[in-house]
């Protein structure tokens, strides 16, 4: 352990306070101006509740989809060499760099009933654009890099030998994945899921084009906040923000606790 814990810890606290805590505290302060009953009325109105459900639900859904397919992408990138590997790897990061509105517009164009993909789904009775499915797709797009980049180094570090060892001991491929690989990369996968989920909950730009923004049905919580702001209802906007923030914090804290427990179990 490096010396200077006092100094570095003090610096960490000061920095976190400046960058994270003070801005967040301001939100609480603003919301406090509402008074308790009004806060409940705005923060937990049926319209707000529907927005929370939609935001957290689609973010969780997109996080799960990304956990599965992001793992697959990471697997291919780590285990196989193929021409154009660097290009594929760069493509994975593209959702980080792209202005999210661009993604939103592109996805909407694809998935409207007249769009390239939407026109084939329409006859099957599947509506994507302007439904929760469309929102989830947008969140899958922006969340992919989080899972891939979290899992990739752990998978690379795990190496092929443990898989081979499991095989020599008579394990099937599924048993090897289930008992050897998955437990080893589980914590990293959970981190990737948590990051993708958190990003999805807060995402705005890519979603508003594809969601259709029907209040109570396809209106996400961040949009509701913007709507409130546009009506100069600052206190109302902060009330919704506070509820979202507390819910997000609870989820992320839970994920962190699970990880700490699994690290302890690894005994490292």
């Amino acid at each position: 352990m490096l010396p200077g814990f006092g100094l570095s810890f003090g610096f960490t606290l000061a920095w976190l306070t400046l960058i994270v805590l003070i801005p967040l505290a301001t939100i609480f302060l603003k919301a406090a101006g509402l008074g308790w009953s009004e806060f409940l009325a705005v923060g937990f109105s049926p319209r707000a509740m529907a927005a929370y459900r939609l935001s957290f639900g689609t973010a969780a859904m997109a996080g799960l989809v990304n956990a599965v397919f992001g793992l697959l992408v990471a697997w291919v990138l780590v285990r196989y060499d193929f021409p154009g590997k660097q290009v594929v790897s760069a493509l994975v990061d593209l959702p980080f760099a792209l202005p999210t509105a661009v993604a939103g517009i592109a996805l909407t164009a694809l998935y409207t009933p007249e769009g390239w993909i939407g026109q084939f789904l329409e006859p099957l009775g599947i509506k994507v654009a302007f439904t929760w499915i469309g929102i989830s797709i947008a969140l899958v797009f922006i969340g992919l890099p989080f899972v891939v980049r979290s899992v990739e180094p752990v998978l690379a570090d795990l190496g092929r030998e443990v898989e081979e060892a499991a095989a020599t001991l008579g394990a099937t491929r599924w048993q090897t994945f289930r008992h050897v690989i998955f437990p080893a990369i589980g914590p990293a996968l959970l981190t990737g899921f948590a990051l993708a989920f958190a990003r999805g909950v807060g995402e705005y730009g890519s979603v508003i084009f594809i969601s259709g923004n029907m209040p109570g049905r396809t209106e996400i919580a961040p949009l509701l906040i913007v709507t409130q702001l546009e009506q100069y209802a600052y206190a109302g906007a902060t009330a919704i923000a506070v509820v979202m923030m507390l819910a997000s914090f609870a989820v992320l804290l839970l994920i962190n606790l699970i990880q700490a427990a699994s690290r302890r179990r690894m005994g490292a």
């Binding site: 030998e161 020599t168 008579g170």
Partner: protein, 330 residues
């Protein structure tokens, strides 16, 4: 026990093995010895089924297992870097091979853990079953890996550079211990090493490999004393080379007799104690060839700049095409 017939393997354009034939009897302890790139590890992995040959066949106990996947070959494999499952306790690691069995072969958990404890006792790690691999030393981890491989009662134990990642002292202890274990359990084992000392100390027979071919198969003593090719002569033990018009004469540093009228003269350039002998190094008068000699340390240490006259009393002659023309003393 094992019969390899004409095993060939290429990696892309690179030929890794050219037609390997090898027979191993039950209970034998075999070393595959060679430099890196000699194909020794590839051969071991083909026997295990971790790699598949392009041509030829692998027979285990008379059964052709050439196309059988690794999980069904019932072969124990110990990896150089242990390859333990870090998220499992030591006991769960050892019992892994038993816990992935299905159907009627599957033992109840209590029996599996009892078996694991038994194996941990065998590898002298009693009571460490509840630890995690991260809490053990390198030597302990390698013994866990060995116990894990033995848990499935393999018909054959394969070890890939089993001591490669350990420090010298631990390595020596573990080596002796492994030889005893091999005898005690009546195993048939093959291990890969690039360390000739290790091969000569442990193996019943040494298979010397070079560039995808077997150079020589023999008892350690035979491989050391009567190398059949210049490569073996050079790779196993230390060898001095004297070029002649028709080829090279090879002799070991200790295969010499000091004689005032000796045919060769060494101008001593460096001297140090090498265990029980003095090691003198330098260039030969005339040919300028670099030579190492072992001199009895009962005498005085040779002085720098001194000239030592000697005759090789035992040597081997290899012609330019690698054939050996004489193996006896001269």
């Amino acid at each position: 026990m094992i019969q390899l017939r004409g095993i060939t393997k290429r990696f892309g354009d690179y030929p890794a093995l050219h037609g390997i034939d090898l027979d191993v009897a039950p209970g034998e302890f075999i070393a595959l010895l060679g430099p890196s790139g000699s194909g020794k590890t590839t051969l071991l992995r083909i026997i295990a089924g971790l790699e598949f040959q392009d041509g030829g066949s692998v027979l285990l106990g008379g059964e052709d297992v050439s196309s059988l996947p690794v999980a069904r070959r019932h072969v124990g494999f110990v990896f150089q870097h242990y390859a333990l499952f870090r998220h499992m306790t030591v006991a769960d690691n050892v019992a892994f091979g038993l816990s992935v069995r299905r159907g009627k072969d599957r033992l109840p958990k209590v029996a599996r853990l009892a078996r694991a404890e038994e194996l941990l006792r065998l590898v002298q790690l009693e009571g460490l079953g509840s630890r995690y691999p991260g809490q053990l030393s390198g030597g302990q981890r390698q013994r866990v890996a060995l116990a894990r491989a033995l848990a499935i009662e393999p018909r054959l134990l394969l070890l890939d550079e089993p001591f490669g990642a350990l420090d010298a002292k631990v390595r020596k202890d573990l080596r002796r211990w492994l030889r005893d274990l091999h005898k005690q359990m009546g195993l048939t084992s093959i291990f890969v090493t690039h360390d000739q000392e290790e091969a000569l100390e442990l193996a019943d027979r040494v298979v010397v490999m070079n560039q995808g071919r077997i150079e020589q198969i023999g008892a350690p003593d035979a491989v050391y004393m009567n190398p059949e090719t210049p490569f073996v002569s050079h790779f196993v033990g230390e060898t001095n080379r004297l070029p002649t018009t028709s080829g090279e004469i090879h002799f070991r540093p200790h295969e010499i007799t000091l004689a005032p009228d000796g045919a060769e003269a060494l101008l001593v350039d460096n001297v140090f104690r090498k265990g029980a002998v003095w090691r003198a190094e330098g260039l030969l008068a005339g040919s300028g060839q670099f030579v190492e000699l072992d001199l009895p340390s009962s005498g005085e240490a040779p002085r720098l700049g001194e000239t030592i006259r000697f005759n090789p009393h035992r040597a081997r002659m290899f012609t330019a095409d690698g054939a050996q023309t004489q193996g006896e003393s001269r």
